[in-house]
């Protein structure tokens, strides 16, 4: 009898212990371990697009309970290498950045491998075959997002050709930048297919005076020019400056204007009919999903089990003033295009085991200006 009582007590204690251990295990698994993601970004820049990129990355990291560690960068290859070194010394678990070139990536991978830190990229693909192969083999490369810059540039040239453009003056970001080169290549392909003559391309304009000068030079040197395409620029207020230069020469409306990457003033000129087409919107979804890829890897639930996760985010097309206003309100406001709660439910595999590549691609295919308005309109 005594023995049975002892066994009963023993079993009760064991069951209780198991129950408590179960609670403990559940508590441990309800949220991922705390983690830190390093993010070199120019947070001093007040351009709303740059601010929105930071906000979207922050929402992704915080959705899984992480902390975003920022260092200010000039986004040059040398600067980024220094930034990554600094972030490693600050004990981060993952680093997300926008590569300035393919050639910097092996150095980044070596630094991260030594420190046991995962890294991911945003906005850029790896063009160099050898470097891509080496990076894809690295266990520390989480992957990233990029856009099909080449196709986008080709499509916008063809769109402009449909509007009657035959001779095109082009502006682009600095040569050597992966996106710039791909956009150049795509524009050349689109021009060849549509029979458009690319008159000249000017690179790396960063101030409005240089933008005015370039447009006026195009007008003076190429009287036949009937289209201007901004494949990319870091010049603030690029479109108003171009429109002003065209208006001063009585060419506004006569010369069609197109731009890759949305900016805040497009709505006004779409209303006036002096601006014609823009592809963009990727500047918010790309960093958000890139950060999601890295976060999933860091917390131990990668979207793809073997190798890096690479997702191509789509370009959205902006053709009406209403869409431009909605873009300014919902993409460039204080909120990310998916809130931290939405990201947690839809994109963090720790909370949603259904997530895989197909799931992510399906989710991103529904992303549009209307989609963001519907989710976030109050």
């Amino acid at each position: 009898m005594k023995l049975r009582r002892l066994v009963a007590i023993g079993m009760t204690v064991a069951l209780s212990a198991t129950m408590f251990s179960g609670v403990s295990v559940y508590a441990d698994n309800s949220d991922p371990e705390p983690f830190k993601i390093g993010f070199p970004w120019d947070t001093a820049n007040t351009d709303p697009t740059w601010i929105s990129i930071y906000n979207n990355v922050k929402a992704s990291v915080e959705s899984a309970g992480g902390e975003l560690v920022n260092v200010v960068t000039d986004n040059s290859a040398d600067g980024l290498i220094d930034n990554i070194s600094e972030l490693i010394s600050r004990d981060v678990d993952g680093i997300l950045f926008m590569p300035a070139s393919d050639s910097m990536l092996p150095a980044v991978d070596a630094m991260c491998a030594d420190a046991g830190v995962y890294w991911g990229t945003m906005f850029r693909t790896i063009s160099d075959d050898d470097i891509r192969e080496a990076m894809y083999d690295s266990e520390w490369y989480a992957g990233g997002c990029n856009e099909d810059d080449e196709t986008c540039a080709s499509n916008i040239v063809k769109s402009m050709a449909d509007m009657g453009v035959t001779d095109l003056g082009v502006i682009n970001i600095a040569k050597g930048d992966t996106s710039s080169d791909l956009r150049d290549k795509g524009a050349a392909e689109g021009a060849e297919e549509a029979g458009v003559n690319i008159l000249n391309t000017t690179y790396d304009i960063s101030v409005t005076t240089d933008m005015t000068k370039t447009i006026e030079s195009y007008i003076a040197a190429y009287p036949e020019m009937n289209g201007i395409l901004v494949l990319g620029t870091y010049c603030g207020g690029a479109i108003p400056t171009i429109e002003k230069a065209l208006a001063d020469h009585d060419k506004a409306g006569d010369i069609k204007v197109g731009r890759i990457d949305f900016e805040t003033t497009l709505g006004d000129y779409l209303k006036e009919g002096t601006f014609n087409v823009s592809y963009g919107g990727q500047q918010q979804i790309d960093p958000l999903v890139s950060a999601v890829i890295l976060v999933n890897k860091v917390i131990g639930t990668p979207i793809v089990e073997e190798g890096p996760t690479n997702i191509i985010t789509p370009y959205l097309e902006l053709t009406t003033a209403e869409e431009a206003d909605q873009f300014n309100e919902y993409f460039l406001g204080d909120d990310a295009v998916y809130t931290a709660d939405e990201i947690k439910d839809k994109m963090i595999k720790f909370y949603n085991p259904d997530i895989d590549m197909d799931y992510m691609n399906d989710l991103i295919s529904t992303f549009s200006i209307a989609d963001v308005v519907e989710r976030h309109s109050k």
């Binding site: 120019d42 001093a44 820049n45 007040t46 351009d47 709303p48 000039d74 040569k175 008159l199 000249n200 391309t201 000017t202 690179y203 790396d204 960063s206 101030v207 409005t208 005076t209 240089d210 933008m211 005015t212 000068k213 370039t214 006026e216 030079s217 195009y218 007008i219 003076a220 040197a221 190429y222 009287p223 010049c235 603030g236 207020g237 108003p240 400056t241 429109e243 002003k244 230069a245 208006a247 001063d248 805040t264 003033t265």
Partner: protein, 322 residues
């Protein structure tokens, strides 16, 4: 008089030769009046910016803040244009340029650190101030009705008045002689009783007036001024600086006021010429760099070339005599 005419001809030959080269390369695109007129109009803002740089440069100050001060001035002018119209734009741009110039000049005076280091640091500070003032969108746009100085004839009138002001200060004031003395040898100038620090401070403040004018013209011509960060504003002063270097070389045969304009005009001919020739943008910097080197080598070594010619003449005479 004869010497003056010869020198004038020499100065004018510089842009004429460059223009003729591009006329040969792309006659159809370059042989129209609109092209020359555009080059002229495009020369005005960088020339006035160069006037702003010149005073400090002559004093031996290397000033990185020019671009960032121009941005602050343009942004303040743009913001005040929205509140107080044209008067707000003009006063806002000029006064803010002078205020920021005084801060730069006084800090250069008091802190006694190399101007290169000081202005590099101040540029970063001014860029952030410009960004904050520019607000959420990072640039300030003005209503087209206030952009009256952006097109001819107003821009030309402003340019002529600016050139006259620069000429007067540079040639007809005691300050200009002090400035040259400080730039030539600061220690000697100090021993001669010149308050060298005050002269340097004044050179920055006087230059600020031209920054204000350049900011007004930039606002008027581009319709907007964008904030710059990460030393992006420094690019604003590169081409004006090249024109000053060329003008200092040309100074032996023409006044600096004209020299800066001629140098900037020539640089713009090269810029549009290369675009018209369909050459890639990257090639422009190579050509600009080479052009600067060639002109400087030719002018700086003109004495040696003359000497070699003389020697050859003497040698030939000696040979023919023997």
């Amino acid at each position: 008089m004869k010497r003056f005419l010869i020198n004038t001809l020499k100065v004018i030959m510089l842009p004429v030769i460059v223009y003729l080269i591009f006329l040969v390369i792309c006659f159809e695109r370059f042989s129209n009046w609109n092209c020359i007129y555009t080059i002229f109009l495009q020369t005005i803002i960088p020339t006035i910016t160069a006037y702003a740089i010149a005073y400090g440069n002559i004093c031996g100050i290397f000033d990185f803040t020019i671009g960032s001060r121009l941005v602050i001035s343009g942004v303040v002018g743009g913001l005040l244009a929205a509140q107080y119209g044209l008067a707000g734009m003009i006063l806002g741009a000029v006064l803010s340029a002078i205020v920021v110039g005084i801060i730069t000049g006084v800090l250069n005076w008091w802190l006694k650190i190399p101007s290169l280091v000081l202005t590099m640091g101040l540029t970063m500070v001014f860029e952030i101030i410009g960004s904050k003032l520019a607000g959420h969108y990072g640039f300030v746009q003005i209503d087209n009705k206030y952009a009256i100085f952006g097109s001819s004839p107003n821009i030309v009138i402003v340019f002529v008045l600016s050139a006259a002001l620069f000429y007067f200060i540079f040639n007809r004031t005691v300050f200009s002689f002090h400035m040259r003395a400080v730039g030539s040898n600061e220690v000697v100038a100090k021993n001669s009783g010149i308050k060298t620090d005050l002269v340097k401070c004044k050179s920055i403040v006087y230059g600020s007036v031209f920054i204000g004018i350049a900011a007004i013209l930039t606002l008027s011509q581009s319709g907007s001024v964008g904030a710059q960060t990460s030393l992006g504003s420094v690019t604003i002063m590169f081409k004006p600086l090249i024109s000053i270097l060329l003008a200092l070389v040309l100074q032996r045969i023409c006044n600096l006021t004209i020299g800066i304009f001629i140098a900037q005009f020539t640089l713009n001919i090269i810029f549009i010429g290369l675009i018209a020739a369909g050459l890639p943008d990257t090639f422009q910097n190579v050509v600009l760099g080479l052009f600067l080197l060639i002109v400087m080598i030719l002018f700086e070594n003109s004495g040696r070339i003359e000497e070699l010619r003389e020697k050859r003449k003497v040698r030939q005479k000696a040979l023919s005599a023997s």
